[in-house]
């Protein structure tokens, strides 16, 4: 059934209440205006942990809620509505997925309780250039004694400026472009030779460029199997992509809702502008697109819950569609607001800025449309 069940509806209601109350858009403005380098509010993150959100993907026997991807996506969607800044995606979705599914007992013990408690932030470092390209991983992990030395640079690492540990993809074999030969390592952020340069970003949340200069790791730091990390990486990225798709659906819905409110309020030429049929038809078309994006997102989350390794197509459909629709929603929101829409006085511009970041991360609409085509035989 492609609908939320009762538990999921309750979670959604609770989440909407929480973000409306604790993390309205004004909270993001504060992070921006006060130039908070971490890119989020630690107290808010603790409050999320208290709600159990940090453990939503951590199995119950490991101290989490085990609520699954539909639940996690519901939270992302609600956070998308208020532009809530937090390490939820990096830590509670991607790192929790990696560790709970492929972490060693020691890794689980060390990190999962800390994630659930809201005490650890773990970033995932994949890309090395301007485009998302996991198979293009070129960073070397050279064998050195019983361990490896990591050397290379990772661009646009979400929460990399504040992470306690970094899940990093590096090449133990093969060369850029090949799926085989990639391994994942969990590296302490304080490791010698690892430096983070904070990037000031469009969405005020920041990110980091991480430079690994011969960072020493041991075999115990490998997550999953050596040389065979691509499949796990895809599952972790699947979690990230689905989370971003859900966030983008929330972003699109909220900028659409605000635009509809404006259309019903603003008067020009002696009429409420929402009565102009040209705007009505554009609004109606956009509504249809938003509806369709929402369906794709829910289908992807359900498919991830059923089998993350078989969810690649559904996740790419969702990320491609949500990215395109959120873009259209932001464009129409600015244009239909007119003059005020191009100013910082209202929040529409903030939705557009975050849309750009979320639609670009872990593959833009083109990247995922290409994957959809390949999966469908062309």
């Amino acid at each position: 059934m492609l609908v939320l069940n009762d538990d999921q509806v309750m979670l959604q209601d609770a989440a909407r209440g929480f973000v409306t109350d604790k993390a309205p858009v004004a909270a993001l403005r504060r992070i921006r205006d006060e130039a908070i380098a971490e890119g989020f509010d630690r107290d808010l993150w603790s409050a999320m942990a208290a709600m159990g959100w940090t453990g939503i993907l951590v199995p119950e026997d490991q101290g989490g809620l085990g609520f699954g991807f539909v639940g996690a996506g519901i939270l992302c969607e609600e956070m998308g509505r208020t532009l809530t800044a937090s390490p939820f995606l990096s830590t509670a979705m991607m790192a929790a997925t990696a560790l709970s599914r492929a972490g060693s007992p020691a890794q689980k013990e060390r990190w999962l309780p800390a994630i659930v408690a809201g005490e650890a932030v773990i970033a995932t470092a994949v890309d090395e250039g301007r485009r998302h390209d996991p198979a293009g991983t070129a960073m070397r992990a050279e064998r050195h004694g019983n361990g490896f030395r990591l050397t290379g640079t990772k661009t646009y690492v979400v929460d990399g400026q504040v992470a306690d540990a970094v899940l990093v993809a590096a090449r133990t074999a093969g060369s850029a472009g090949e799926h085989g030969g990639i391994s994942l390592f969990l590296v302490d952020a304080r490791a010698r030779g690892l430096t983070a340069e904070r990037l000031a970003t469009l969405d005020s949340r920041g990110a980091a460029e991480l430079t690994f200069d011969g960072v020493a790791v041991t075999a115990d730091d490998v997550v999953g199997a050596v040389d065979d990390g691509h499949g796990l990486l895809e599952v972790v990225l699947g979690a990230g992509r689905a989370g971003l798709a859900a966030e983008l659906a929330g972003n699109a819905q909220e900028s659409f809702t605000r635009t509809m409110a404006y259309l019903k309020e603003r008067k020009q030429f002696g009429r409420t502008i929402g009565a102009f049929q040209a705007l009505q038809h554009r609004a109606a078309h956009l509504f249809c697109e938003v509806e369709i994006a929402r369906s794709a997102v829910l289908a992807a989350l359900q498919t991830l819950d059923a089998d993350p390794q078989a969810a690649s197509l559904a996740v790419s459909v969702a990320k491609a569609k949500a990215s395109s629709v959120a873009r259209l929603a932001a464009q129409e929101a600015v244009q239909m607001h007119g003059g005020i829409g191009m100013t910082d006085a209202i929040d529409i511009g903030l939705f557009m800025k975050r849309m750009q970041v979320a639609s670009t991360l872990y593959g833009d609409a083109d990247f995922h449309a290409d994957r959809v085509a390949l999966a469908r035989g062309f």
Partner: protein, 396 residues
């Protein structure tokens, strides 16, 4: 769940035993569809047998009550039947406007006598119906229709004309919107009546479409006598039935667009026709960008049809005004699909006749889709409904 599993097993066994092998091959054109009716000529013995066997179980209309010729199946059982039929590639035994449109209308608005009279004959494929809605000067503005039914004691006298009447030239009977009160506001003087297409004063004329096909007719009524017993629902309140059926029709057309997309997508057709590169990518990068995006939209739209139906089923209602979303998006997607297929075809898509182009199937299909966003309510009317009813935007 046990009883559903049992139902599935029984259904599978029955279908296996009763569906003729000729009825397990894909439908390739209009000629393979069984429409029924007084003048129906079965295209094969298998088509006849298959209809009779399915009708005997009420499975031509599996969800209708048994009393009216239906199968009396639950929503879940109907789904299982469809799944099992799809699993063996079984064709639908019968299609008709009676099944799609009139049946649901009579179930909701008809008298007991009307249900008993008409529904079983629809279920058995004995009577073929057509739908008299649009008029030459009342296209999108359906409620301004002018065909009149004047009170003549025990019967009405119907005069006027309809347009876009699907298969009127092949139908036995018509369900028809007529004006019975010219003084009332336009939505409040309309009635919903039934009559025989062989009645004196009825004539039809096929309309040639740009695709070269003629699925529609103009239909003329010149003093046609209709017994008052053939009024469905309340006099002058036929618009309620019309609205109910319009919503139902939109949902069906929207889903139909998806159904058409249920076969191979434009990207898959193009890959078969043009080929792929060493990595499996369609060997035409510009076309590939567009078929890939169309595939994303088609898959997301398919998820939306599922979601809407699941949401409606969860609360036990129809899709309602959201049928406009499906009608609009589904038909626009289908037009886009054929534009892409024409791009893939290149010169081969320009042939209009002859065996190697299958009688110009590609360009004729392309032109036929242009009507999708017009018939059953234009895209513009659908967007108006979304804007006004779903988004509550103000009237001008």
């Amino acid at each position: 769940m046990d009883s559903l599993d049992a139902f599935r097993r029984e259904t599978r066994a029955w279908l296996d035993a009763n569906c003729p092998v000729e009825m397990r091959t894909p439908v390739t054109g209009d000629d393979d569809i069984c429409w029924g009716g007084r003048r129906w000529v079965f295209t094969s013995e298998a088509q006849k047998v298959w209809l009779e066997r399915m009708a005997a179980r009420g499975w031509t209309v599996p969800g209708w009550p048994r009393d009216y010729g239906g199968g009396g199946l639950s929503h879940e059982e109907v789904t299982i039947l469809k799944e099992e039929m799809r699993a063996i590639g079984a064709r639908s035994p019968l299609e008709s406007f009676g099944i799609w449109m009139l049946g649901p209308a009579l179930l909701a608005f008809g008298s007991e006598a009307q249900k008993k009279e008409h529904l079983p004959r629809i279920a058995r494929g004995e009577i073929r119906w057509c739908q008299g809605y649009s008029e030459p000067n009342a296209g999108s503005d359906l409620a301004s229709l002018q065909t009149r039914a004047d009170d003549a004691g025990d019967h009405f006298v119907v005069s006027g004309s309809k347009i876009w009447t699907s298969y009127a030239d092949k139908a036995d009977m018509i369900f028809c919107l007529v004006r019975t009160d010219f003084a009332a506001p336009k939505h409040l003087g309309i009635s919903f009546i039934l009559f025989d297409m062989t009645a004196p004063g009825v004539s039809t004329k096929p309309i040639l479409l740009i695709s070269g096909k003629s699925p529609f007719c103009e239909t003329f009524f010149d003093g046609v006598k209709v017994p008052k017993a053939n009024l469905v629902g309340t006099l002058n309140r036929g618009w309620d039935i019309a609205k109910y059926l319009l919503t139902h029709e939109r949902e069906m057309i929207g889903s139909g667009g998806g159904g058409l997309l249920g076969g191979r997508s434009p990207g898959q057709v193009a890959a078969a026709e043009i080929g792929t590169d060493g990595q499996g990518r369609l060997a035409d990068p510009f076309l590939r960008a567009d078929v890939a995006r169309a595939e994303v939209d088609a898959l997301a739209f398919a998820a939306t049809m599922t979601r809407y139906k699941d949401e409606a089923a969860a609360v036990g209602q129809g899709v309602g005004d959201k049928s406009s979303v499906l009608k609009y998006y589904g038909t626009e997607l289908n037009k886009r699909r054929y534009e892409l297929l024409m791009r893939a075809a290149g010169h081969e898509g320009l042939e209009w006749e002859g065996a190697r182009s299958d009688g110009g199937a590609r360009p004729r299909g392309w032109l036929r889709t242009k009507a999708n966003s017009i018939e059953g309510g234009t895209s513009e009317v659908m967007l108006d409904i979304v804007a006004k009813r779903l988004l509550q935007l103000p009237s001008a």
